[in-house]
Amino acid sequence: MALWNLSLFLCAVALGALVLILLARVLDERQEARRQGERRRLSPLLLGGVTDISVPPQGKVEQDAAAHVTLEMAELVRGPERQAVLANAERIGIPDILHQRSRSRNVQQRLLAAEALAMFPDHAPRVHELLRDPNPSVRLGAALALAQNQAAPPAAELVHGLGLGTRERSLLVASLMSDLVDVDPAAVIALLKDPGVSDAAKLAAMDALASSGLLEHAPLMAEMAQSAAGDLELLPRLYHALGRIGHPSGHSAILRGLADPAWQVRAAAAQAAGLNGLLEAAGRLGELLGDERWWVRFRAGEALWRLGPRGRDTLERVALAGPALARDAAKRTLEERTDA
């Protein structure tokens, strides 16, 4: 009987809570008109279409709508228009609302507030505080927002503070590094030489430097490729970076990579050879058409095609007289490329 009574009690409590939540939803639907009204009032104001001094959003519903509409507009526009939106938002007190939201218990609210507050230079200190938020997404989001707005702390401080590459392995670390490179490339280059920085963080830094097109980092990467022998996570990304940079100082490292025992490295090096137009790799790439791993055969075929006439000659020669596996790879690469 106790079980029966307990089940009835729990069921009644759950259904009661459901009724309360339903009532809350009904009330919320009634507030929708207010929310929409505030959006209509604020939209032209934020875009600068209304010049009179407006009343800041008053109630919680209005403040909520104001924060949302500001974020949406800031996401939609760029350049001077965005500056105008932010100036107007400041005029009607939006940063104060965002300050409140940055202390919300809801993770998404805090993250959105951090991203938005970083756009207001006077409020960057609050975003700096959020770099110590208990939630990792908020911490990283705050760092990204600060970096995008050229207000980030020094690169080394961020790497150590957020545990970039150790506790925090998100791919967004690469975006963060890219933004840091734009402002202070020397600080990011210094990370590569810092023994206290993890390989993963160095990789992100390297990717960012490679994407920036700053050619002077290539020798350093080639050196790292030599010292990172056997590191299957690091090496392929190093070769991808060398492929993107295309600097001659990376060529000997790429040629070495084509003979690496790990297939992931051979495939990445083959791709880099194609991107660099490395003609002296044509012979080795021809051999790699017979590699036991499909990815290596595929990348070798693609690279040969990119090398132009000499690479295509190699492909045609192997397609006619190479070993069975290589012949098939060369034939199919030629078919595919000719059809493309």
């Binding site: 259904l15 809801n106 993770v107 791919l171």
Partner: protein, 479 residues
Amino acid sequence: MIFEPAVWAQPWMLEAAQWIAFIVIATGLAQTAFYVVLLAYAAAALSSRPPVPRSATQWRRYSDQAPPIAVIAPAFNEELTVVESVRSLLALHYPTFEVLLVNDGSKDRTLERVIDAFGLKRVGRFIDDSVSHATIRGFYANPELPRLLVIDKENGGKADALNAGINAARSSLFCAIDADSILEPDALLRVVRPFIDHPHLTIGVGGTIRIANGCIIDAGRVTKIRLPRNFLALVQIMEYLRAFLMARLALGQIQALTVISGAFGLFSRQRVVEVGGYSHGTVGEDMELVVKLHRHMRDQRLPYRIDFIAEPVCWTECPEDLRVLGRQRSRWQRGALECFAKHKDMCFNPRYGRIGFVGFGQVLLVDVIGPLVEVLGYILVPLLWAFELLALPWLLAFIAATFTFGIFVSALTLILEEAQLRRFPQARELAVLALIAVVENLGYRQLSNFWRLKGWWQFLRREQGWGAMSRKGFGGASV
């Protein structure tokens, strides 16, 4: 309350009756307790990584680092819907992706329709041969649509078609979908998030599937969310809520997820190749793949994550008549049993950690023992009480375990849904679902267990095949 047993009852009969009732009630209570724990984990998952509300925000945050994805869509006899499906896939919002439509030996004009609609021509393609599949007859593409490749192959079933797609994929990630499902435009960007957050660990991610019956659909997109009027479709909405919002989200949080729906799942291509791709000869190839991945990573002692995201990413049409629904449920049951039998050595095996104890424990409790014991309870407990072999409290405890606690769990799921996600636009819809949460326990739940028992029978007889799944299609508003 004094119990007067039947005058003809022997002591052993009374004892046996009480044991039967005890087993049935204990199983029901264990299930309820497990569900409540899952709900707590689901709530924790939602609060630690709440869904991003806006697509634009999602794009701003993640598009720069989003890795390329190959979307693999197997199609078999889908001439009526295939062109619209492909159009909808090509319009997905994601920085770099390729759609691989695999025509699995359709007997209708599926291939011709796609070729005509997109101006495709036969092309060469150098593909991998790591996983096995039936012979590929040709590849079709159009240089002006570089994101689309059609693979025409001999019929081999869904798993076989997916394997062909895996071999042809050139991205580190692939997304397996049903060609007749509708993806949210930002589905890939939402589901890829665990691969961005934990790129060194994540090997698979599932996303929430929602029921499209009743919704307004235009040009391959769900434009207005509405509840269906069909009772069976309404009940299935509650079932999907429990399955995805409660069970899968929580199991993902515990890192003991055993299923990523075949309708939508994102995987590391390399890891799937390492386990030999999808298995042939099973109707539960989606569950089998996830279990194989767990086994592989645990055997190799490699750290990994298989995650689940709460955001709705995919819409599917659910059956609206008893015959088709029954067949689908029997097939799902059979798939779970096949997978459990094949990997039974993982169950409660310390080598497999939480997947062996929590993941397989859940399959054992909910899929293997659950329907057998519950159906036994429906038949025996009321009978034993009617024949005065059981006292009334036993009957009430049985009703508590199977009915009132069922309502309790469903109500909690709806509360969680409303508190964290709010995917039903109007209060009225929430009220309808609250009513369904109560009503489904009176009749539908019993019927569903009967279908699952049928699945058990098919499993024992080693029956194969999927059975026909007739759909109304997404051509217009389906009400």
